[in-house]
Amino acid sequence: MILSEPASDLVRISLARITHSPNRINRLPSLHTNRMAGATDIKVQEVREITRIERIGAHSHIRGLGLDDALEARNVSQGMVGQTEARKAAGIIMEMIKEAKIAGRAVLIAGHPGTGKTAIAMGMAQALGTDTPFTSVAGSEIFSLEMSKTEALTQAFRRSIGVRIKEETEIIEGEVVEIQIDRPATGTGAKVGKLTLKTTEMETIYDLGQKMIESLTKEKVQAGDIITIDKATGKITKLGRSFTRARDYDAMGPQTKFVQCPEGELQKRKEVVHTVTLHEIDVINSRTQGFLALFSGKYTGFLALFSGDTGEIKGEVREQINAKVAEWREEGKSEIVPGVLFIDEVHMLDIECFSFLNRALESDLAPILIMATNRGITRIRGTQYQSPHGIPIDLLDRLLIISTNPYEEKEIKQILKIRCEEEDVEMSDDAMTVLTRIGMETSLRYAIQLITTASLVCRKRKGAEVDVDDIKRVYSLFLDESRSTQFLKEYQQEFMFNELGMDTMETT
């Protein structure tokens, strides 16, 4: 911390003040009417953000693989339960990825439905962090009318290889003197705004667009903050508050950092290191420019409109980029970050895709490929041949296979507990035992789906925690897969088109 002793005193005083006058923000001396509109605007945003509910996904409780330093799986950790063998295996694959030496290894996670295959893949993605590219696709995504199967696979491969490179960007760095946001009197329509920034040497006024106003309000930027704006992306970073404002008895938390007002020009060029994927470089370089843009600058914006999605990328472009990346690597300008490509439901791929994978895995720019399937011995798509997991033997031979096992009762209970926490549901012990029983007899997914439904039933009867009765109620309301099958078998005669006399519906 750069705070000196008296400054931290100030922080404490200001903290005391804030409790007495929560509306202080409107009484700053330099405020005039327009600023006030902006300030109240910020307040409204704040209230909305507190009440905003995070969306909960099927795997949002997973934060990692749950391994210790010796790669031993802890029984319950980071949202993961059981599957210790599979997780340990995944941990070893992780080490391989982190070392980044070996290209083109492939892993298959095989197991029954609902045994945590996707969860393990998600855990790996979480544990690798944001700097390692992790691409997740479903097997059926490959089949698109816009591009060939191999193109879609190639793009997925190249999305999973990162290149860490230094780039020069233009940033604006200064102290906020004034931020003024005007809303139209009618209440609807675009807001207009002005932002005045200064350094020790100069001052500049900027006109703000809609997006910029939104991100300024989101970052809660106010007069006296030192901010940087990335000119190309418009990203705002708050560096701290100006030292000259340290004496304002203003609302500020103990973590407020004080920084000096920047010197020199507002606009600066700065070198930043970031990771881009090979696919992104491909896209940038396959955009074509028209001759129109040559002599009149005003057409450039117009042309940018048409350079969106590119569809298929030419082979020559990729070759050029591979050569360029190799050159950068030799010159020490960049570093290759091999990532992970995860293909879920891999049995949906057909024989052409599999033979393409055989070939693609041999390239030295291949990522680690992780596939997941829940099929046993089945037909390979596009052929008449049967094969384990619906994958040709020659590809299977190149894979490291991790298998997941059905959960035990104790583990199911643990997972349901974690999900209850994630979905913010209180459940009594009895109800939990019943739900675990249901999970054992039907499926884990069905039991998880009953959590939120039961909690809604409980809330309707104004109960504090989910009871056995609530579980019973939703269990009777919603059929699981086996009861539904049973029902169909019994009442088959009553359904439509049954009189045609077909024994079973044709499903291929």
């Binding site: 100069m202 020199g264 881009v276």
Partner: protein, 200 residues
């Protein structure tokens, strides 16, 4: 040296076009950088000189104006945020025997401004005593020919809210420009308008 710059221009791919009384020349260098110049067809006054460089990843960046300015409106929504039109506008607009910069929207009296030369970084700096405007800039022509900057050659003038900075061109620059103009005159220029199509 002046000769290396001339060689670089000579080795580039050039297109020439006469349009609206301007001689427009477009250069493409071996590294993909583009340079576009516009001269007054009669007086050979340089109106626009702009550069377009390739980004590190191969993306084309916007035109950077070395001389002249981009006309036409800027779209606020597309850019996200732009400098307000009431801010000082800095642009270079050369005259025959001097480099000249004009900074519009600077209402302060002339004794507010000072221009200094930093010989180490080959930059000039404009400062204001009221801390309202500050800018560091280079003279790319002088950098390309590796000539030293001389503070005595700077002249300041202020009128109509505009600060005019003039820097006398040295003999070497004047000579080089003359050679260049002779070269450009030799280039075959496309004429704008209907293509000549005499039926045979």
């Amino acid at each position: 040296m002046a000769s290396t710059w001339l060689e670089k221009l000579k080795s580039s791919q050039k297109t020439c076009l006469i349009q609206d009384g301007r001689r427009k020349i477009h250069f493409t260098f071996s590294d993909g950088t583009e340079l576009a110049e516009e001269y007054d067809a009669q007086t050979w006054e340089l109106i626009i000189r702009k550069w377009k460089k390739k980004g590190t990843l191969g993306a084309a960046e916007k035109w950077e104006f070395e001389v002249g300015e981009q006309l036409g409106p800027k779209n606020l929504e597309m850019e996200g945020f732009i400098e307000s039109s009431s801010n000082p506008v800095f642009l270079r607009k050369d005259i025959k025997d001097a480099f000249q910069w004009r900074i519009r929207n600077l209402p302060y009296p002339i004794d507010t401004y000072s221009v200094t030369v930093d010989p180490d970084t080959h930059t000039l700096a404009i400062r204001t005593t009221n801390k309202k405007y500050f800018k560091k800039f280079t003279i790319p022509d002088m950098e390309r020919t590796q000539l030293p900057l001389d503070e005595k050659k700077i002249n300041l003038a202020h009128a109509n809210n505009t600060l005019i900075i003039t820097y006398k061109k040295p003999q070497e620059i004047l000579k080089m420009e003359k050679v260049l103009h002779e070269e450009f005159k030799k280039m075959k220029a496309m004429k704008d308008g209907d293509v000549d199509c005499t039926p045979s």
